[in-house]
Amino acid sequence: MDFARSPELAPTPAPLPNFSRPRKPPVPVKIIVAGGFGVGKTTAVAAISEIAPLTTEAEMTAAAIGVDVPGAGSEKTTTTVAMDFGCLNIDKTLKLYLFGAPGQARFGFMWDDLARGALGALVIVDSNRLDDCHPAVDYFERAGLPFAVGVNAFDGELAHDLEEIRWALTLNDRVPVFEFDARRRRSVRDALLVVLDVALIHATEKRPA
């Protein structure tokens, strides 16, 4: 997005790194922030990230999507998807990355890469547009990735109450559904803590006795 701020590719090369005191890099962990377009994913990442959210672009080809019609037309479907992310240092050696996943159904192929190694996912929902989060919910259910559903209260009012939303999304009782404000740091923190609680239950059950 804001590409003007990055000086790394400037024509005058910076001096090469000084290797005199090698430092051990932090151990990275990640949580996925998913949901439909414009639902507040980047807002939530920005609210809690210690760096201004960055955008990376992934190039996807027809082969990656699995749609390859040989012969007639033979137009390659190539899509560039943008993904915003941020990070925060949890302690001296642990760093949490938050990846805002493109939520549209047609970007599903990208989620395998995102979901691999993730602690869990926060699915952000706009109570006026519940359908937009279906692809994300379906994906995480099938992938067995722990997730929680945060309903972003844009103007402090929800179009449906939380139980109606749970029913509409056919979520089981183990998936927490709660209201939060993607603009507020503490609210986003609490939303992530809910995701981590689900992840912890999941991990504890999975661990061999």
Partner: protein
């Protein structure tokens, strides 16, 4: 005006779009899927002390080595250098093979480890 079905005209119309699509993979000599599957979005990368002259590297490769003076994730390299994620993974894999970068795949923790999740919970609670 030529009909859109004219392949040449269509190509010209799309020239810019095609170039911006193809250019990233020119940097990888056309490879699109040859990266190490262990290299993840959040995998940390650091520069290694190297004995080969960096001026044998391309501009993009040199930029990556410089950026990795401090530990950075693959996603950060991609974002800060405006390289597509797939291209970044391939270039990072190449630079690792050539001895310029250390890719800390062995430092990855299991997302199913309750101890790790508890550490994240405790750390996150201190954010106010």
């Amino acid at each position: 005006m030529a009909p859109v079905t004219d392949p040449e005209q269509e190509y010209t119309d799309r020239d810019d779009a095609e170039q911006s699509r193809l250019r990233p993979f020119v940097l990888t000599a056309g490879r699109v899927a040859a990266h190490d599957p262990d290299i993840d979005l959040h995998t940390q990368v650091t520069a290694r002390p190297h004995h080969h002259p960096v001026d044998t590297l391309t501009r993009e490769q040199q930029s990556i080595v410089r950026l990795c003076a401090e530990a950075v994730s693959v996603a950060e390299i991609s974002a800060r250098l405006h390289l597509h994620l797939g291209v970044t993974k391939i270039l990072v894999g190449d630079l690792r093979a050539a001895g310029f970068l250390e890719v800390h795949v062995q430092d990855a923790v299991s997302p199913h480890d309750p101890e790790t999740i508890l550490r994240v919970i405790h750390g996150l609670r201190t954010f106010t």
